[in-house]
Each structure stands twice: as structure tokens, then as C-alpha cells.
Symmetry: C2
Subunit: 228 residues, 2 copies
């Protein structure tokens, strides 16, 4: 059975990506990253999702980016709230974590090479997203090229590493509908950048706003509890 | 003053790279990585080297690669000993850590972007080395291309990230001579993959053999204590 490493944050995108990877016949190795994010709740959700998909293995790699800082998700910078669609669509916000997806994909690549997997799935997406540079197709292709020069198996021609991004050109509504076709119960997922202590989503950060818009456009009810 | 992140393991190569970066006028930000390596002693040496160069800041980022495994440096696989030069020069050995330099450079890139540095130094080297794919110039160039697509500052055109590898085409003897010109006392460095409990270098792993050959060819005495 062919193996894939799937980056799993426990949000809508990575959970839907898990379903797609499984439907393509891969044995699933789920990788979550504890990088000191303020929304650490997402790691509990990731564990639930990994159990739901009965993955072969789920590991949580720790790499503390708080010491590096530079982002509202890892330092004391406030998470922006109540931004309009227009604002969300333009510019790169302070929730951008410097080189985050490069760190995540590098760890995924290491694990993929160690377990003889040639495919890495990541739920990156350029529509209905916050403008992060490391979610764009040109970045993903550049990482893939680099990966095949970086690794023993790539260089020896034993493996051609592929980074699969099945959601990259889908709207949030399309992603949610796709997941629903696979029977995903999105109550096990989590999206908020700045959840309350009781776990309730803030309802006002970019991630909550994009999620709510997605469910609304998909004509479905969001099972998540919001503080507002 | 222009800033640079310098990857610092506390070995000969990264220590010499620090001296070169300083001579080029950079303010130094030293980055060491605790990845669960069996030669954890190198992190103590890295701290000594960072103090010696009076760096602006030294951080030790933790990312545990033991759970990923796949290498003699992070798992129970034995470190090869007493290999001939011919064997060292051919093939990629079990001390290769899957995608290690990609993980290191990704963390360095994150820190560089967070502190407004545009340059990352790494002591990668393709002569007198163990054949690791992620030390070759074509890999370094691919990482650099990727880095400028991955980051907010790269994409916004505010920064063009550069990965500098001043040692890449130097022999170990040339590196040691270069460092001596800068007055480096190599007794503060460490190279062994498999040091004894008392800290003595094994004298027989690839890294010890390449170090000894380098000092011998440079016509200098190695200040390190070896068990054999």
C-alpha cells in the first residue's frame, strides 16, 4: 500500500485533505506540528481527526517558534478581528508566521523519506485564505524541486517526492461540500486563531470569518460553537 | 549594521563560517538546533563558540527528529567506524539525517525574516564530507529560490534572501587554515558523531576521520582529545 504523509492541523482544509488522500488509496501518516501556537486546541482536534481516519500513525512534532516570534500566532501581537473580505483578500496579515509551511513541509519531507513515502499532502489553498505566500502553487512547486535535490532518495532516483495540494484552487464552500460528500462531520474540526479559554471560537478572526462564509455559501450549518 | 543568521553546530565548518560572516561585517545571530542528536555535546560547544564571537543573540531551536528516525545520528543504528577515504567519498551513509539541512535552513529562514536579516550562512561543504545531498550547491540554490517564494518579505520584494556557503568548495585542510588566519582556537569546537560519555571524540567515525585528515593535511596539530 502506498504511503502518504498528511499535514494535519485539525482544521477544515487539512481534514478534507485527509479524506481525499484516503480516497486515493494512500496509507495515512498524519503529522501535526506543535509550534507554540496560541490556538494549541487545534492539536487536540488533530488527534480526534487522526483517530477518525484510523491513520497508521500520528505524530506531533514540536518546534517552538515562540522564540523566533514575528507573528500574531506565536507572540504578543493581537490577532486582527472583524476584517472585511476586501481586507482579508489584500496583503499579508500579522497572523503570517515566517516560513511556517516551509518548516512544516521540511519536517514532513524528513518523515516521508524515513518511512519510504513519496507523497506529502498539504491543505494549502489560494482562494478564501489570508494571503500567505507559502500557500501558492509556485511556492509548492519550488519546494518540490528543492525536496528532490535535498534528499538521499530523491538524489539517488529511488523516489520522486510529490507535494499534493488537492484544495489549492477550491473555495472554502467547495472544500466544505467536498468534505460533506466524504461524510466528514466538521464538528470535530477547529479553525479559530484565538479561541476562548473554554474552547469557543472567537467568530471574528480571519479564520473564523472565512469558515463562516464558507458554510454560508455552501448552504450548510456550521456545527462549531462561537463566542460571538 | 546588516544582520545574518548563522547556523552553528559548534564544529570546525560552522565555527569557521562564523568568522567569515563576521569578517564580512554582519551582526551575528547564531542558530543551533537540538534535534535529538546523539552528539548533544555539540550544543555546549556551540554555546562556547557563540560567546567567543560575542554574537548579538544565540538561540537553540528544538525539533525532535528521534520520533522520525531514519538515521544513525537520531536512532539506534550504529555510527559507522574506520571507513576508508574511498568509502567515505562514495554513497550516502547511515549518518544522513533525512532532510536535516532543509529543516535547519527553514528555521533559519523563519528567524531571518522575523529579525529583518536577508542573509543565512551555512557551513555546507562538498569536499571532504560524507556525501550528504543537502550540502551540494544545486540544493542550496534550489532552497534559495524556494525561500524567496515562501516568505512575506521575499514575495513583497522587500528582501532577497541569500544562502551563503563560503566553504562549499574548500577542503577540510583549507577550512582549518582559513580559520587559523582568523585566530580561531579549534579546541572550542567539536566534530565527533559518537562521543564517549566523558566527551572524548571517538576518533573513528567519518567526522573524526575527516577532521584528523584535515589537520594533518594543513600541517597543524588538532587540539582535540581522542579516545583512540
Amino acid at each position: 500500500m502506498k504511503k502518504a504523509v498528511v499535514l494535519l492541523s485539525g482544521g477544515i482544509d487539512s481534514t478534507t485533505t485527509m479524506a481525499i488522500a484516503r480516497s486515493e488509496g494512500y496509507e495515512l501518516y498524519a503529522l501535526s506540528i506543535d509550534y507554540g501556537q496560541r490556538h494549541i486546541l487545534e492539536l487536540e482536534k488533530a488527534s480526534q481527526v487522526a483517530k477518525y481516519f484510523n491513520v497508521k500513525r500520528h505524530i506531533v512534532a514540536r518546534v517552538d517558534l515562540r522564540e523566533i516570534g514575528g507573528s500574531a500566532l506565536t507572540s504578543d501581537i493581537d490577532v486582527p478581528k472583524d476584517r472585511t473580505q476586501k481586507n482579508i483578500a489584500h496583503g499579508i496579515p500579522v497572523t503570517y508566521v515566517p516560513a511556517r509551511n516551509t518548516i512544516f513541509l521540511a519536517i514532513a519531507l524528513s518523515w516521508a523519506e524515513a518511512i519510504d513515502a513519496d507523497t506529502i499532502f498539504i491543505g494549502a489553498n489560494v482562494l478564501d485564505y489570508s494571503g500567505y505566500p507559502d500557500c501558492r502553487p509556485e511556492y509548492i512547486r519550488a519546494f518540490e524541486d528543492m525536496a528532490n535535490l535535498a534528499t538521499k532518495k530523491g538524489v539517488e532516483g529511488l523516489t520522486k517526492f510529490k507535494i499534493k495540494t488537492p484544495l489549492i484552487n477550491m473555495t472554502k464552500a467547495e472544500i466544505i461540500r467536498k468534505g460533506a460528500q466524504f461524510g466528514i462531520d466538521y464538528s470535530m474540526t477547529h479553525s479559530c486563531y484565538d479561541p476562548r479559554e473554554n474552547g469557543a471560537a472567537c467568530g471574528r478572526c480571519d479564520s473564523c470569518l472565512l469558515r463562516r462564509k464558507g458554510f454560508s455559501e455552501a448552504g450548510m450549518e456550521d456545527p462549531l460553537k462561537y463566542a460571538l
